[in-house]
Every structure is written in C-alpha cells, then in structure tokens.
Amino acid sequence: MKSEHLYNYILGIADNSLILGQRLGELCGHGPSLETDIAGTNISLDLIGQTRSYYQYAAKISGENKTEDDIAFLRLERGYKNVLLVEQPNTHFGYVMGRQYLFDVFHLLLLQELQFSKDQTLAAIAKKGIKEVSYHKRFSGDWIKRLGDGTPESTAKMQEAIDDLWPYTQELFDMTDADTAMAQEGIGVDVSKLKESYYKQVKTLLTQATLEVPQSTYFSRGGKNGVHSEHMGYLLADLQYMQRTYPNMEW
C-alpha cells in the first residue's frame, strides 16, 4: 500500500459520512413533514456521495484490487472508524437534528481546512463538500432553534437530545495515529485545533435556541478506534446484508 496512514485517514473521514448517511436513510418516508423528509433524504444523498468519492480514492491507493463497495460493506465492525456520535439512533426528530448539527459544525470546520490539503484529491473532495455541508449545518441549526425555542414540549425534547448527545462530541477532536501522521505531512487536518471554534459556535447556537449548554465533563469515545456502541452491529447488519448474503456479485 502506498500509504497506510493515508488510507486510514481517508476512511476516518469517510466512515462518518457513510454511517450518518445510513442513519438518515432509515428515516426516508417517515419524517414529520414532506419538506423535512425531502431535506433529510437530500442530506443522506450528499453524505453517501461524499463517501463514494473518498472510498474510490482509498480503493485506488490501497494497491489491492479493492472497490468502494468492498470498503463500505465488507469490513468487520472493529474496522469502521466513525465516531460514536454518528451511529446514534433516530430516537426522535430532536435527536436527528441534534446529531446532525453537532456533526455538521465539526464537518464544515474539517472541510474548510481539508480544502488546503497538499493531497489534490482530498482538497477537491473537500471543496465540493463545503457547499453541501454548509447547507446541512444551516438546516440542522435552524431546526434546533425552532425546536429549542418552540413549544415547552419541543424545548424539553430538544434539550433531552442535546444532553444525551453531548458526551459524544469530544471524540470528534481526538487525533488518531493516521491523523497525526497526515497532519504532519500537510495532507490531513489537526482536528484538535478545531475544538475551540466548534464549542464556541455550538454554544452560541444553543443559547439562541434558548437551550442550556450541558455542563457534563464525562465523555464517551472509542469509535475512531473501532470500539462502537451496541447500536452499530444492527446498523451494519442492515448495511451489509446483501453483500454478506450474496458475496462476490455485481449489482
């Protein structure tokens, strides 16, 4: 392989898009309104599109005869590098928007740096993604404001979601070995440096949404190293079903 660090680095970014895209896809046809249904599906579609670009690149540099689908569907759970945040279930619309916003803020910060990567392919994918992710962030942020500052019921539900999802935010800024190696080469982004801007933006929005910023200092992590939550196995069972049941076929 040309560079194991580069390969792992790409997967570290792409797996988040894949798993969040998968989660949003589960909701298609079941949203609270036709408009939110369309928007959610659209975001899922953007994320799956981004995933494909990353995996195609990863497949190319793997040096093996891999395809984007081998990478997407044929790894064991411990091989997926997404953060715990994106695999959290669609408990209710507040969780869906909370998870989305808490990821979108990070995602946009990441892509805004990644567009200056020395790696031309990654820079190009990031540049294209910035437009999409800016829209995702605006959409989810607007909904947090509506739900936070809506009815007493919606405020309570949105607060509940933010409180429950908050412990998964710190992992976004953990540096893996691949992250460190790639940042040093000017290919990857030092995500630990995005932390301050991230929490500043999130806290401002939560305040605008009349929500409380969670004070908890206990955080969960593990996804980046392949140690996931109990939800992940079920998600993968769905995702991988066809490729596992009918191996080595074309679709």
């Binding site: 998968q22 896809g25 589960e26 298609c28 046809g29 079941h30 949203g31 609270p32 309104s33 036709l34 408009e35 939110t36 249904d37 369309i38 599906t41 659209n42 899922s44 579609l45 799956i48 599109g49 995933t51 494909r52 995996y55 984007e68 689908d69 997407a72 569907f73 209710h92 619309f93 404001k145 509506r146 739900l147 500052d149 809506g150 009815t151 019921e153 919606s154 539900k157 769905d238 995702l239 079903y241 066809m242 490729q243 009918y246 076929m249 074309e250 679709w251």
Partner: protein, 318 residues
C-alpha cells in the same frame, strides 16, 4: 346565481375544454370538475407518498453505494412529486392537512400496488420497470389534461418517472446477467409484480365508474383496457431481452391484432386490495399515520417559533 346563469357558464367552460384551453385555478369551474380533480390529484399525491414506503424499505439494505444513492434519489423524487401534486390540489381550495386526514382515515385512495410487500432487492428493479412503466402509460396523457396546474405538474413527473423506469430495467438487467441466484430473484420479482401491475391500470372498462366524464374533461384520454394492452405490448419484448418469463401461460402474440392476448386477471384480488385487505394496506397507512402523529410536536414547534419571531419583528418595528 340563477340556474340559467350556471348553465351558461357551464357551456362556456365545456367549450373552452373542447378548444383545448387550459383551466386555471382561479377560473370558474363546475363543482363536479373541482371535486373530481381534487379526488384524482390527491389520489395521485397520496400514491407518491405511500409509494415511498415499499422502496424506502430497501434504502438501508441497498447492495452497493451506487444503488443506495440512486434509490435515495428516486424516493426523494417521489416525495417531490407528492409535494407539487398536493400543491396543485391546494389551488382547488383544500388544505394539505385535510388531504392527509382523508388518507389517514381511509377515505382517500392511493394506488393499490403499494400494498404489496418488497421482499428482495429485485423488487426495486421490478417496481421501477413495471410499476413506473405502468404509471407512465397512465400519466403521459395527463400532460395534456384540461386543468393547468395538474398538466404542468405531470410534465415534470413524467420526465422523472421515465428515468426511474429505465433505472428499474437496468437493475433487472444487471440481475439477469448475474448469477443464478440473482436471475432467480429477478424472475421471482416479476412473478409477484406482473399481475398487480396490470391491475394498476384500473378495472376493465365495463366496471370503471369515472371513465366517461373523465374522458370529456381530458383527465383520461384512453380507456383502462387500451392502456393495459399498450403496457403489455410494450413490456413483453422487454422481458424477452431480460430472458425472463412473464407468469401468464395464456400470453400469446396475436398476428391479426398485432398485440398480445393475455390470460384472465384475478379481479377478486384487485377488489380485495382496493377495499383494504391487501398484504400491506394496514402497515402502509399505519406508517403514514405514525409519521404524522410523531411529527406533531415538531410541526407545532415550527409554528410556535415562527409566531414568536413574527411577534419580535412587530415589537422592533414599534
């Protein structure tokens, strides 16, 4: 308005339709025209929305990323069709909430085909190929229907449906060129979807209650039986290309008519499903009702938030 005046307006109205002029939402129209259009357009919108469910069922299990993205885009298109068909319907003076109520209570109908389950990936191919194929045959004539907002919506719907149909055929083609398991899956899907697709074009002309009036208003340009024959004649050669067998032992090309003769359709099954006793009628409506009920707090919050913002604007203005 006197009876004479109404009669006069009706004559002018019918003459406009006869001249192929478009009727717009603000134009005078007979009450029956309005009601018939609300019924048909909303039924069409409901079909798009309920139709998202059987296909949505396979988004999380799509076999490749390319297929997942295409399926997401397709189901999203259907939501879009629903959205502008509801909007076209709203121009006739009924709200989307009322239309939803009619769907949820079972008062409004939607295409019965969506009450069949999607059991394998090949069903995504069969739905695109057959169900969207039949839908196009139904819908292309509507691009020239007399009611302007509906006709314009249908132009866009038909363009996207024809893309979906090709996509469905391509899914089938890939399966048929694949392993034995894949080909079996495709044949099984054709076996299950063929007859319901024929039924989708509506009851036989003798039993169709709305045909005559709808023909006059150009809501319908061909009879159900003619449309069905067109669908069969178009689809059989496509099945040949795929190397699949249409599950009808009586299917035979008739040299005299230049069309395919086909076996008897099980209309008892059709009416059973229409009356709410198909394999998935209950699940489909329950899923729609659950989405609506579970989303109530979200919609309420959006309204409350908008009202608060409006209030703030007024305060600042003062």
């Amino acid at each position: 308005m006197s009876n004479e005046q109404i009669k006069n307006l009706e004559e002018i109205f019918e003459a406009r339709i006869a001249r192929d002029e478009k009727i717009e939402a603000k134009d005078w129209m007979p009450e029956k025209y309005r009601k018939t259009h609300i019924r048909q357009i909303s039924q069409h919108a409901h079909s798009e929305i309920v139709g998202m469910l059987p296909e949505g069922n396979w988004i999380s299990r799509a076999p490749s990323l390319r297929r997942k993205a295409a399926l997401l885009a397709k189901v999203q298109d259907e939501a879009g069709h629903g959205l502008y068909l509801y909007s076209a319907c709203e121009t006739l003076g009924i709200s989307r909430e009322e239309l939803y109520q009619q769907l949820h209570s079972g008062k409004a109908k939607y295409s019965s085909i969506f009450n069949y389950p999607t059991l394998t990936w090949a069903d995504m191919g069969a739905i695109g190929w057959l169900v969207d194929g039949a839908a196009i045959i139904n819908q292309v004539p509507l691009c020239n229907t007399s009611f302007g907002p509906y006709a314009r919506a249908m132009v866009r719907v038909c363009k996207e449906e024809s893309f979906h149909q090709r996509q469905g055929f391509e899914i089938m083609l890939k399966l048929c060129n694949g392993s034995k398991e894949q080909k079996d899956m495709a044949q099984d899907a054709l076996n299950r979807w063929w007859w319901p697709s024929l039924m989708m074009l509506g009851p036989t002309d003798a039993e169709s209650v709305h045909t005559e009036q709808s023909m006059k208003w150009k809501l319908k340009r061909k009879s159900n039986d003619d449309l069905r024959q067109q669908f069969i004649d178009q689809t059989v050669p496509q099945a040949d290309i795929l190397g699949l067998t249409i599950p009808d032992p009586d299917l035979k090309f008739n040299k005299q008519t230049g069309s395919y003769d086909f076996g008897a359709i099980n209309w008892d099954e059709f009416w059973q499903v229409v009356k709410g006793h198909g394999p998935c009628n209950k699940q489909r409506i329950s899923a729609r009702v659950a989405a609506w009920d579970n989303g109530a707090w979200v919609r309420d919050a959006a309204m409350a938030h908008a009202a608060k913002k409006e209030e703030l604007k007024v305060k600042i203005a003062i």
